[in-house]
């Protein structure tokens, strides 16, 4: 005689626990996200409608910060400078990173050494050493003007000229093209060789192959780099902070630096939050535009 198999009766709670085991593993991340990301993010929106000051608290609620942002000569000028900065650096950086990645994709000697060397600027970030280097390059008697002088060209006052100073800051960002380059390099390696073989047999030139095979095949990575570079460009802080401190005459003051100045120098946290939100909305809008446009130019092989 065989006894009936023993079945364990699961309580509803235990069953719920079993079904949601994954949730328990996610709890640390969820808590971290809620406390350190979601709450500050939401509270910054609330504060953006106040005149919160570190030491004086809140005395006024309303949209005055946003009105100030879009009516003050200073903030409008900073917003325009930031847009200009993004529109100069993002395309330049992408083109430069792709160009270097394309070269490094060839079978040349010491290619790994070159890859490392080109990546180094990206990990240097914004530091005192970079500030010293950049100033040594671009001060009136610096390396750049000395070289230009060698060819009989009188270089401008890079750091004091309101137009050229922004260019100096842009150049720093473009110089740090390593991360974009690595992604491009990986994408280039992923382009099937048989496409090039077929094109070669058909008589396509290298240039034609580049624009008709390489570029279309790596558009997903171009798209990814574009979106991330736009977000980063709008948040650029290190360059102007360490090299020009936003000068001369606010010519290199970008939104992030202005947010910092409002928040930590004049303690106007409400205004700083409002500016951060304007920046966020601008980046989000550009991201939406980029995503909307991708159906026209991004090629997904799958």
């Amino acid at each position: 005689m065989s006894s009936a198999p023993k079945t364990t009766q699961r309580t509803p709670f235990k069953r719920w626990c079993d079904e949601n085991t994954g949730l328990f593993f996610l709890i640390p991340w969820i808590l971290g996200f809620l406390i350190f990301k979601a709450y500050p993010f939401a509270s910054s929106l609330v504060y953006s409608f106040t005149d919160l000051n570190f030491f004086k608290g809140i005395s006024q609620y309303g949209v005055m910060n946003y009105v100030e942002i879009f009516t003050s000569r200073k903030t409008v000028s900073v917003l325009l400078t930031t847009v200009k900065y993004a529109f100069i650096t993002v395309p330049l950086k992408l083109v430069f990173a792709l160009f270097i990645a394309y070269i490094l994709n060839f079978k040349i000697k010491f290619v790994n050494l070159f890859r490392t060397v080109y990546y180094i600027p990206s990990i240097l970030g914004g530091s005192v050493a970079i500030a010293v280097l950049w100033r040594a390059l671009f001060k009136d008697t610096g390396v750049v003007n000395t070289i230009l002088g060698f060819f009989g060209i009188a270089g401008p006052d890079w750091l004091a000229d309101k137009t050229w100073a922004l260019f100096v800051i842009c150049l720093l960002r473009v110089w740090q093209f390593g991360s974009a380059m690595v992604l491009f390099l990986a994408a280039l390696k992923g382009v099937p060789a048989d496409l090039y073989e077929a094109a070669t047999i058909d008589g396509a030139t290298k240039t034609r192959q580049f624009f008709s095979i390489t570029i279309p095949m790596i558009t997903p990575v171009i798209f990814y780099n574009l979106v991330t570079q736009i977000a980063q460009a709008f948040q650029e802080f290190n360059g102007p902070y360490i090299i020009t401190q936003g000068g001369p005459r606010n010519a290199t003051t970008l939104v992030s630096l202005l947010v910092y100045n409002y928040a930590f120098k004049s303690n106007e946290m409400g205004m700083a939050c409002a500016l951060a939100w304007v920046m966020f909305i601008a980046v989000a809008l550009l991201t939406v535009i980029a995503f909307t446009s991708q159906k026209h130019w991004v090629y997904y092989a799958d």
Partner: protein, 462 residues
């Protein structure tokens, strides 16, 4: 659907990247709200209130204190030696220091203060007391610890300056003011043997430098804030009234235009380089500039406590000379001295008695002999005596300080140094003097912006 998810991820990504901007706001909210209804109260009284209870320094239990200061390398070394000596005296008390250069220091400290996370003992700039603790809530009233700190070593005037909201929030470390320093080696190359003692001497020096040494040589180099201070010296001397009194700027737009034209005349006559010229040279501060090191900039208008920093930066410092204060008008000498910095105990300090003992040690006791004149000439009588006995007072600093204090005759409003005005990147003084030098503003526009900025700060703190 796939695209919607992608879009969502991208939005979350940008949100995450930007979320940091809100963090500080949230952490500061509680403390800021508490301060919102308070008003700044000017120093009124420093009558030595007896402590409400007797204090005894704990010499047995392990105690940990923190201290913060800004400065240069020599100051850092002096503080560290003094802290070692303090630890020898009180082996149970361990003091952990935080220190750094001035650049960016105020932002870090003000944020820490807002979050009640400041060091137990804090070297503070004078205006911080008014700007960050107008109700006295950020720093303890040191009179409560007068049985630990010998407050009688400071003059009433010095203590008055640090008494805000009827609370002695710091003891002054030193008094300071601005004075000219000259590199006489360059002056001699230009054929000038005597230090400039008048406006006419400055103009003559400018011409001599340009003619004999070239366009790159200037008798004096001053930044944006220096220009504001020099203009104040000029105006106060010419018009015989303080820049700000009774929370109001005492100068009309016409008078400020006169002051701005005075600065412009220094530029026009090659006495000082224009701001674009200085910015193009790409230096952080004048003492770190090649122009100063090589003697192309042959003069500065600086705090008396900065003498050694500028002297030691010179490639050949044999000609470094403390100049004379220049009287620009006939109504008054003009100019001001101020508390250069103070030492405070933050309200969040868990061991205020021992923190008070540390302050007393550093500025009245054995520590003062080690600190010497690293933070300027000690304002404490006992501290100065100890420093002099240890031969730790630098003669150059003493000479400059003596000349400044003997000359200046105008009071200084604490909000003169408000970060909103003084900040070298975003402050009103920078906007006015850079804009004026760049030609973005004429004198009338610059004067209007300056007066608006000053009155804005004064009314916000009224």
């Amino acid at each position: 659907m796939k695209k919607a998810i992608s879009l969502g991820v991208a939005a979350a990504m940008t949100a995450t990247l930007l979320a940091g901007c809100g963090t500080a706001a949230s952490s500061s909210a509680a403390t800021s709200e508490a301060a919102s209804t308070a008003e700044s109260t000017a120093a009124e009284s420093t009558a030595e209130a007896a402590p409400s209870e007797a204090h005894e320094i704990n010499t047995t239990d392990p105690i940990e204190l923190t201290i913060s200061w800004w400065g240069g390398d020599s100051r850092h070394e002096a503080y560290q030696k003094a802290l070692e000596a303090f630890h020898e005296k009180y082996p149970n008390i361990t003091v952990s220091p935080t220190y750094g250069a001035w650049s960016g220091w105020e932002e870090k400290q003000s944020t820490a203060l807002a979050a009640d996370q400041g060091s137990d003992v804090m070297q503070v700039n004078w205006n911080w007391l008014y700007q960050y603790s107008p109700t006295g809530e950020k720093f303890v009233d040191l009179r409560e610890y007068s049985d630990v700190i010998d407050l009688s070593q400071w003059s009433d005037a010095a203590k008055n300056a640090c008494t805000v909201a009827d609370s002695l929030q710091a003891v002054p470390i030193s008094m300071t003011g601005r004075i000219f320093y000259w590199n006489m080696n360059t002056f001699k190359q230009a054929g000038i043997e005597q230090v400039p003692a008048s406006y006419d001497d400055l103009i003559a020096a400018g011409k001599a430098f340009q003619e004999k040494l070239g366009d790159d040589y200037y008798p004096l180099a001053i930044g944006q804030y220096d220009r504001m201070i020099l203009m104040t010296f000029y105006l106060e001397s010419k018009y015989g009234k303080a820049w700000v009194e009774n929370n109001e700027c005492q100068y009309s737009e016409e008078e400020v235009v006169d002051g701005l034209n005075f600065i412009k005349s220094l530029e026009d006559n090659h006495v000082i380089p224009t701001r674009p010229t200085m910015i193009a040279a790409g230096f952080d501060s004048i003492d770190k500039s090649q122009e100063w090191i090589d003697g192309k900039y042959a003069g500065i208008f600086e705090w008396d406590s900065s003498a050694n920093k500028y002297q030691s930066a010179l490639a050949d410092n044999s000609g470094f000379t403390v100049g004379e204060e220049i009287k620009f008008g006939d109504k008054a000498n003009g100019g001001f001295s101020k508390v250069s910095m103070g030492m405070a105990i933050t309200s969040s300090c868990q061991h205020p008695v021992e923190a008070a003992a540390l302050i007393d040690f550093l500025w009245n006791g054995e520590g003062a002999a080690i600190m010497g004149s690293e933070c300027g000439i000690p304002a404490s009588t006992a501290g100065l005596a100890a420093a002099q006995a240890a031969d730790a007072v630098k003669p150059l600093v003493l000479e400059a300080n003596t000349k400044v204090l003997a000359f200046v005759d105008m009071p200084l409003d604490p909000y003169f140094e408000s970060s909103k005005l003084k900040d070298t990147t975003d402050g009103v003084y920078t906007d006015v003097f850079d804009g004026f030098s760049y030609g973005d503003y004429d004198a009338e526009e610059a004067a209007e912006i300056l007066l608006d900025g000053v009155s804005g700060v004064l009314s916000a703190n009224a």
